[in-house]
């Protein structure tokens, strides 16, 4: 019987952010590697260079989301990218574009992902790597009865096991067993 579970809102928000990160990586790779296929499907030939640039942006955002302790800023970056993507796609809705139906579908898809980015950014907002709260002062937690200077070396008399001792050749000159060295 379960009484309590550790996963919370932050866990779900992070999972969504990671999912968006992987989506960014996939989309970024597609835009970088096969831009011509995408522009043909959208009837927007001639914009392959721009798409490659967007692909680099997507890939970088995805990587940032996946490797960061705090993916919030990267998700906000994705949101800004979504706005640019939407603006670019709108230019493909003109009467002269025979594939404007595809453009409309792409717009709907990007709008959906934008909504997810918004939800994720909202859920992660204010989540620093440590969360809110004042810094604790532990300067009174010495753990020793006297100041460190007075405690320095009080355990020096404890026997260090032979197998954990530094070989003589690696010890400071003044602490070597010079007599033993002379017999070698």
């Amino acid at each position: 019987m379960t009484n309590q579970k550790s996963s919370g809102v932050n866990g779900s928000a992070l999972a969504l952010a990671r999912g968006l990160g992987w989506f960014s990586i996939g989309l970024g790779l597609a835009e970088m590697l096969v831009p011509r296929v995408l522009t043909e499907q959208l009837g927007m030939q001639g914009k392959e260079g721009l798409l490659r640039f967007y692909g680099v942006r997507e890939f970088a955002a995805g990587l940032g989301i996946l490797i960061s302790d705090n993916p919030g800023p990267w998700i906000w970056g994705r949101l800004a990218g979504d706005a640019v993507d939407l603006a670019t796609l709108v230019t493909g809705l003109g009467e002269h574009n025979p594939r404007k139906g595809n453009v409309a579908m792409a717009l709907a898809a990007v709008a959906g992902v934008t909504a997810l980015d918004g939800v994720s950014a909202q859920a992660l907002s204010g989540r620093g790597p440590r969360g809110p709260g004042p810094v604790r002062d532990y300067s009174d937690r010495r753990g020793m009865p006297k100041p460190p200077e007075a405690m320095r070396g009080v355990a020096r008399n404890l026997q260090i096991p032979k197998d954990m001792r530094t070989p003589d050749a690696l010890r400071p000159l003044d602490s070597r067993n010079l007599a033993e060295e002379r017999t070698i």
């Binding site: 009484n3 579970k5 960061s68 604790r136 753990g143 009865p145 405690m151 320095r152 690696l170």
Partner: protein, 390 residues
């Protein structure tokens, strides 16, 4: 009984599970009075250590009262107050007789699995991966302690509180062994990466062993204040260059002794190599993030010693073996041989030379453990060490 159980990445629950039973005449059952969450429990919580199964009971730092003893156990009696080391040892195999308790040849009941993964088996551990035996851990009301006539450390019922002796189970001997492995000389600078609980004990151990200078490296202000209280000069790696500062503090020569108390989940800094580690770990192309080890190999003084109590799980990439080899560094590592140190450390506590309870920042009931895992992982609320009371 109630116990904190692992159910997957980021998912620890307080479950009701069957009470443990005596399974071998050498066993004992301990009623847990205090248990703690260890930094290495977070590696399980974060899903970086393989070999966990849903329902595994967590925890390898615990102490309590003996409530049942096997017929063949001549060491313990009902009512004894004991601290139980996290390494399960037989006391009889060749490695145990040499004092290498953490590589006991007999106590890992999944020895075949460990042989395949590590080449040869190591000791069984409480509340850890099935690679180390999959023994139910101490974040519970009761624990079965195998080979209980060897490792448990008896402590007096009067005088010392649980919080003063509990950490003999792991983090105090671990910090101590980290410093002992450095064979500290009075002229030494000991640099310690990570001011978590093990780092804190390593700082105080290095001071007690007589290091000229102890330097702690971390980024969390509260941990740095605790490190300074223990006698360390501190470096916040988010605010200054670790390499430059260490060289400044050692006349340009680097520290003679370096301790890695961070391990496989090194914080991603602004350095290229740590970003590279995060990306590779995410893509499952390496298991560990060895940024600290790289920094240590680079900055350590030639002919110096590197002590590595930190936990690493599997495979690491881009280790600068060129620097390591050419500088003639010595690397000492391993899980802690707890029972090698407990007599001396208990004496230091009893004499009042050290009070390990300084490290406790949070104390909660067992059922609040799942939430504290998150608090500890995210380093919220100034959390350094959590003690749980079943």
């Amino acid at each position: 009984m109630r116990a904190l159980c692992w159910h997957g990445k980021g998912d620890i629950r307080c479950d009701r599970v069957p009470d443990p039973q005596i399974e071998d005449p050498r066993d004992a059952i301990v009623k847990v009075t205090s248990t703690a969450i260890c930094g290495s429990d977070l590696h399980l919580y974060n899903g970086f250590i393989p070999g966990m199964q849903s329902g595994d009971i967590m925890g390898h730092e615990f102490m309590g009262e003996v409530v049942e003893v096997g017929t063949g156990n001549k060491k313990l009696r009902l009512g004894d107050r004991v601290v139980v080391p996290f390494t399960i040892i037989c006391g009889e195999c060749e490695q145990c007789r040499r004092g290498n308790f953490s590589v006991c040849e007999r106590t890992n009941r999944n020895r075949d699995l460990a042989d395949k993964v590590f080449g040869h088996t190591t000791a069984g551990l409480f509340g850890y991966t099935h690679l180390t035996g999959g023994y139910p851990g101490g974040q519970a009301e009761y624990v079965r302690v195998p080979y209980a006539d060897v490792a448990p450390v008896k402590v007096s019922k009067n005088g010392l509180s649980d919080e003063q002796v509990l950490f003999l189970s792991d983090i105090f001997p671990t910090g101590w062994q980290a410093a002992v492995q450095c064979d500290v000389e009075p002229s030494d600078t000991v640099a310690i990466w990570g001011a978590g609980p093990v780092g804190q004990f390593a700082i105080r151990s290095a001071v007690l062993l007589g290091a000229k200078q102890v330097i702690a490296i971390d980024r969390l202000p509260e941990r740095l204040t605790m490190a300074r209280a223990g006698g360390a000069i501190t470096i916040n790696f988010e605010e200054e260059s670790v390499i430059e500062r260490l060289n400044d503090l050692t006349g340009g020569k680097g520290p003679e002794k370096c301790i890695d108390a961070v391990g496989l989940e090194a914080h991603a800094t602004a350095t290229i190599d740590s970003m590279y580690d995060r990306a590779k770990q995410m893509l499952m192309l390496e298991t560990d993030r060895p940024h600290v080890l790289r920094e240590i190999f680079y900055v350590c003084r030639p002919a110096g010693t590197v002590s590595m109590p930190a936990v690493y799980g599997g495979l690491s990439d881009k280790i600068p073996l060129g620097a390591f080899m050419n500088k003639g560094l010595t690397l000492r590592t391993g899980q802690t041989h707890v029972n090698r140190w407990t007599d001396d450390l208990l004496r230091l506590i009893e004499e009042g030379q050290i009070d390990p309870s300084f490290v406790v920042t949070h104390q909660v009931k067992l059922e609040d453990g799942p939430a504290m895992y998150k608090t500890f992982r995210d380093k919220e609320d100034g959390c350094v060490k959590v003690v749980l009371k079943p």
